[in-house]
């Protein structure tokens, strides 16, 4: 009960939990489309690709306001998306390798810039790396506001383009024959994932971001065959693991929030994979032993 009142009245905990919940909802819902389109690793690449943007935004403006850094991250994530699509479409490099190339090259350039800033700048840069490795404990109310605005915007776009996304996800050829511009819808969807990633960097960090997109969607897929239900359920699972992770991390000293969010999520994924009706793996084993 104590925790519950803390959740509402404790400034730090409230921000951590809210930030993680917003991230969970947005990444869960958008991740559903990514997972169904077999782009589960896109989030990983985009998360790494945000680093040079954050550094350049700071170098240009000298500001550490969340909005500026978010914007820098989003722009470089978006550039990475376009480079990625180009490599896949116009060279013989396969998607898997292209993801790896974009991920490591953008991140390498980012590290170079980050080290450069660390070595050449005044003390003002402290905390820049928080935007990359996630330090939920230091999430401020301003951060939460920015995240919420970005998240609501992304989900609004999903609501407006829901039908288009749905067709494109399940039958891209049919979508094209209906006159939808497959290429642009793909770019829009990926850009929205960039938004989710940018929100996530601040809370869970670059390495764990991919799980925030993939995990809730994979878990939700186990419980339903309907896209609407899956998207909503994934948002719910995302939020649940966000809040659970935040609570666990403050319940004991010195536990990092990001990893606890991911571990909570992992538990949800495992339960869903094993026990969900129909698609649960355990039912398979039962069916086998009967037969």
């Amino acid at each position: 009960m104590n925790l519950l009142t803390d959740l509402i009245f404790d400034y730090t905990l409230r921000n951590i939990a809210l930030g993680a919940a917003v991230l969970g909802i947005v990444s869960g819902m958008l991740g559903s489309f990514a997972v169904l389109r077999r782009q589960g690793l896109l989030g990983d690449t985009l998360a790494h690709a945000a680093l040079p943007g954050i550094c350049i935004a700071y170098l240009l403006t000298g500001s550490k306001s969340p909005l500026v850094l978010f914007l820098g991250a989003a722009i470089s994530g978006w550039v990475a998306t376009l480079v990625l699509l180009r490599i896949v479409r116009e060279t013989r490099i396969k998607e898997d390798s292209a993801l790896g190339v974009v991920l490591s090259v953008f991140f390498g350039v980012g590290i170079m810039l980050l080290t450069f800033i660390l070595k050449h700048n005044d003390a003002n840069q402290a905390g820049l790396d928080k935007f990359l490795f996630g330090q939920a404990a230091t999430v401020t109310a301003e951060d939460v506001n920015t995240m919420t605005i970005l998240g609501v915007f992304a989900l609004l776009v999903v609501a407006v383009l829901y039908k288009e996304f749905k067709i494109m996800t399940f039958d891209p050829n049919f979508a094209a024959s209906l006159g939808f511009n497959d290429r642009w819808l793909g770019v829009i969807l990926t850009s929205l994932i960039v938004v989710a990633v940018v929100i996530g960097l601040r809370t869970v960090g670059v390495v764990l971001m991919s799980a925030m997109l993939v995990g809730p969607a994979v878990a939700a897929r186990q419980w339903t065959n309907r896209l609407e239900a899956m998207v909503l359920l994934a948002g719910f699972f995302g939020a649940l693991s966000g809040v659970a992770g935040a609570l666990i991390s403050v319940s004991e000293a010195n536990l990092p929030t990001g990893p606890m969010v991911i571990l909570s999520l992992t538990v949800i994924v495992i339960i869903s994979l094993l026990f969900a009706p129909q698609r649960g793996i355990l039912w398979d084993i039962k069916r086998f032993s009967k037969a």
Partner: protein, 364 residues
């Protein structure tokens, strides 16, 4: 100097494996493995009660193999796509690792930043002493051993690797187990990641496995050539990257990756066989060739007819063949240059040469 040599050795070790990762469409597995070794490393340190190199290595190797097995198992349940399986498993492992560090190693210096970036700058400080004699940096021996192991594996199993990579079905029919090759390759990727990441960090390991090999893939169609090119590009990136890092006083790992990235994009643009520029020129050449053939056949068809004068007017050409005026101009220019047509009072006439070529086209 010691940094450069370590860098070169690690680049070559990574590139040797990277070639097969690219060809087998498993590039992202190296990313997953290099992050997922964290909990194993921590567990190893835990049991050895300190940052013991060998215990850490063993733990990391176990963690890597667990990761590979988990990904395969998840994929085999048919519930999860391969890429999603990777996307869940390695963050879970990494989160577990960070959790363990926070829980049990509050005071041990093992921050996750170091895991990601490594500290190639400091390789010169960890030296191998036997008695009092300085045998050079430890990293020489680790990186050198990795190179040797990977080279040995590729040479001994070259045929099997090639077969399993390009035709897994045939390999299985012939009695080679693609399963064995897969796990052997993954084990080596793990060993290399573990060995390399203490000096260069997880991200550089991934970059050095994927980026030079991807660049090489754009430059050649021959496997031995691709392996050689990948190793060469990796080594060159290490040398130039180190220079770049010195020049702007920045992270060596980051600079090496950036240079490797520059090589990749250069290959993507300028590769004579698979580059974007070569491709654009090929398409342009074909466009001109088709235009020329259409022009010759058109002129030949109407030669000697009543309307010949009208048919061979420049303006008519563009409407008849549905060409943009610019394109018509270009094609006529090329045809005139090659001595296939002549312009006479605004009309086009076939030369003997042009007529002969047109007739040949009609025969085909």
């Amino acid at each position: 100097m010691e940094i450069v040599i370590t860098g070169i050795l690690i680049s070559v070790a990574c590139a040797l494996l990277g070639t097969f990762l690219i060809l087998r469409k498993m590039a992202m597995m190296s990313d997953a493995i290099s992050h997922a070794i964290l909990p194993g490393l921590v567990a190893g340190y835990f049991f050895a009660k300190g940052p013991d190199l060998f215990a850490g290595f063993l733990g990391a190797l176990v963690a890597a193999l667990v990761t590979v097995t988990l990904v395969e198992a998840l994929k085999n349940t048919q519930r999860v796509g391969g890429e999603s399986a990777i996307g869940i498993v390695f963050p879970a492992m990494f989160a577990l690792g960070t959790f363990l560090v926070a829980r049990f190693f509050e005071n041990v210096h093992l921050d996750t930043d170091a895991v990601l970036f490594g500290n190639i700058e400091f390789v010169a400080f960890d030296r191998l002493f036997i008695g009092d004699v300085d045998f050079g940096p430890q990293s020489y021996y680790v990186a050198g051993a990795l190179c040797l192991i990977n080279l040995l594996f590729i040479t001994v199993f070259y045929k099997e690797l090639k077969l399993a990579t390009f035709d897994a079905g045939l390999a299985a029919t012939l009695g080679f187990s693609p399963f064995f090759i897969h796990y052997a390759l993954m084990a080596l990727v793990s060993v290399t990641s573990v060995g390399a990441f203490t000096s260069v960090g997880a991200v550089l390991v991934v970059a050095l496995m994927i980026v030079p090999a991807a660049a090489a893939y754009l430059l050649t169609d021959k496997l031995p050539m691709m392996i050689g090119l990948a190793a060469g590009i990796g080594a060159l990136s290490a040398v130039l990257g180190y220079g770049l890092a010195l020049a702007i006083d920045s992270s060596v790992a980051g600079a090496i990756v950036s240079v490797a990235g520059a090589f990749f994009f250069a290959a993507m643009l300028f590769s004579p066989s698979h580059g974007l520029i070569a491709k654009a020129r090929r398409i342009e050449r074909q466009r001109v060739q088709i235009g020329l053939e259409a022009l010759l056949v058109h002129l030949l068809n109407h030669e000697g007819e009543e309307g010949e004068a009208h048919e061979s007017e420049m303006l008519h050409l563009s409407s008849e063949l549905r060409w943009l005026p610019q394109f018509a101009q270009q094609i006529v220019g090329v045809a005139a240059n090659r001595g296939l047509v002549m312009q006479l009072h605004g009309h086009l006439i076939l030369t003997d040469n042009g007529r002969r070529q047109g007739q040949q086209l009609m025969v085909h």
